[in-house]
Assembly symmetry: C2
Homo-oligomer: 303 residues x 2
């Protein structure tokens, strides 16, 4: 175990904010993020990795913070042209964002693994947090709904997560990307970010060896539910439809024995008595200026 | 032979202007353009077909006429991002242009031949001239220089055609795209556009069966050299370095027996006596407003 080192398992927005908070608290070079790739897609021939991109853009200071995805001050000329030529454009990609997707897609087609490409993109963007895709392989998340089974982005973006979720599946044999298991084994703190447990963290847990590596460590989770609602996204409804309580307690129940410390926002302090290893600390990180403080509070709570 | 039908063999800018001129003169639905693909390239993983695009953009009224390539009112966000991520950006692609390349590249990867994709793009852009790539296969132009052999775009764009051309080669077994030979056989007029004979028309002539089909027809060429200079591009220097006279007469010599009518601009009327089938007609088509007239004059000269 290396002192000061923190490894975070995360998805997109909530995850990226915790990673940013911890990087501000202990220094970017001490933080590793293991990022979900279960919702990656090919769109217009481009390989898009929404969660990796949200983390990259957040850490590089490029994220459109209001919208919660994509690059700020974005333009949409490519999309307008593609649409005028009859292309499907239900997944919105901005021009600057497409610049990154083109570079990544070309490198992947040339044979570089996603982990190598991601490290290079991070370096070019001046991001010093170590970003690891959970796997270099094609692990994909599918959602069972009353309308049938949908791939993640069709459910989430195309159908605006309107279909009630009855089940979640991860498909594809997925070995961990280089460095993933070691990052879990070697860090002083291993933290599950306040990301959606079913569709952001779940796919990471489905990667070969990750659950076992976590079982050997003390793992903390930061609640993605505050006051009965997700800071963003459909998690609260999913908890209900998948048979869990619509609360921080429902999330703690999902993780079960895997997690031995659980960070609750002060708004949910009442649940502390029912959750193993509950610690109360501020967990709202919407404002970048408050993040260093949240990062310090989370680490303090875990010590 | 179908009366009124005109088939044009062409490259990029000069070719697109003749196609536009003829379309304005006899109606777009009567014109077929057989377009060079020898300078196509993969760039940033995108399949770019510069000559097809110049013809498409010209006919759709989208061409940046001042620059002579690409889309007018273009933006460059994708390129700026790709460059900031370390990508090679020596071949300039604008955002709107990239929208088209993405749609084409995705369709090609899905297995559609270039001719099918081109017809669809033309339809979406409201272009009624029939556009045929000379071949659906990978015919590519290479240029021999004192600096060694270069693929066409490396010589033309990356090295700004600074290297003296000592030879030109077309590589790749290329069968004609569907409709190409019939378009030569059935048209009332077959015209070689005022495009570079070595690197724009030459690759079309290298497609299987094209020379034979042309030999059976009366073929006219429009001179790409006016007053000893190309309207645009490096043709005048190439004529010299490849052993031809730097003049319209040099071009006529290159085509030789293949061509039985040769349209000279009035500025070159002095060469008329030396060129088989010479006809003098205005051939400057830079201004779109003068094109219908040039088209009519060229057809009149060929009747």
């Amino acid at each position: 175990v290396t002192p000061e080192k923190v490894t975070v398992l995360c998805g997109g927005l909530g995850g990226s904010r915790l990673v940013d908070s911890l990087a501000r608290a202990v220094g970017a070079e001490n933080v590793t993020a293991i990022v979900n790739v279960g919702d990656d897609l090919e769109f217009l021939g481009l390989r898009v990795s929404p969660d990796l991109d949200t983390v990259l853009y957040t850490l590089a200071g490029l994220l459109d913070e209001e919208r919660g995805w994509g690059v700020r001050d974005e333009t949409y000329s490519v999309r307008a042209t593609a649409e005028s030529l009859g292309a499907d454009t239900w997944f919105t990609l901005g021009d600057r964002d497409i610049g990154l997707h083109l570079v990544r897609t070309a490198a992947l087609r040339a044979g570089d693994p996603l982990s190598t490409v991601t490290a290079r993109l991070a370096e070019q963007l001046g991001v010093r947090v170590r970003l690891l895709p959970a796997t270099d392989e094609a692990l994909r998340t599918f959602v069972g709904t009353e309308a049938g089974e949908l791939d993640f982005q069709t459910w989430f973006v195309r159908h605006r997560h309107a279909d009630r979720v009855l089940g979640v599946e991860y498909r594809g044999e997925a070995r961990p990307a280089p460095g993933v298991l070691a990052a879990i084994e070697d860090a002083e703190h291993v933290v599950i970010a306040p990301s959606n447990p079913f569709v952001s963290v779940g796919p990471i847990l489905a990667v070969e060896g990750v659950r076992d590596a976590l079982s050997a460590r003390r793992v903390a989770a930061v609640s993605p539910i505050i006051g009965g609602e997700a800071v963003r996204g459909p998690l609260a409804d999913m908890l209900e439809s998948l048979g869990f309580e619509r609360s921080a307690r429902g999330v703690a129940e999902y993780y079960g024995d895997l997690v031995s410390a659980f960070v609750l926002d002060p708004a949910d302090a009442a649940f502390a008595a029912d959750i193993r290893g509950a610690v109360v600390a501020p967990a709202v990180m919407v404002d970048p200026r408050s993040r260093a403080e949240v990062g310090r509070a989370v680490l303090e709570a875990l010590r």
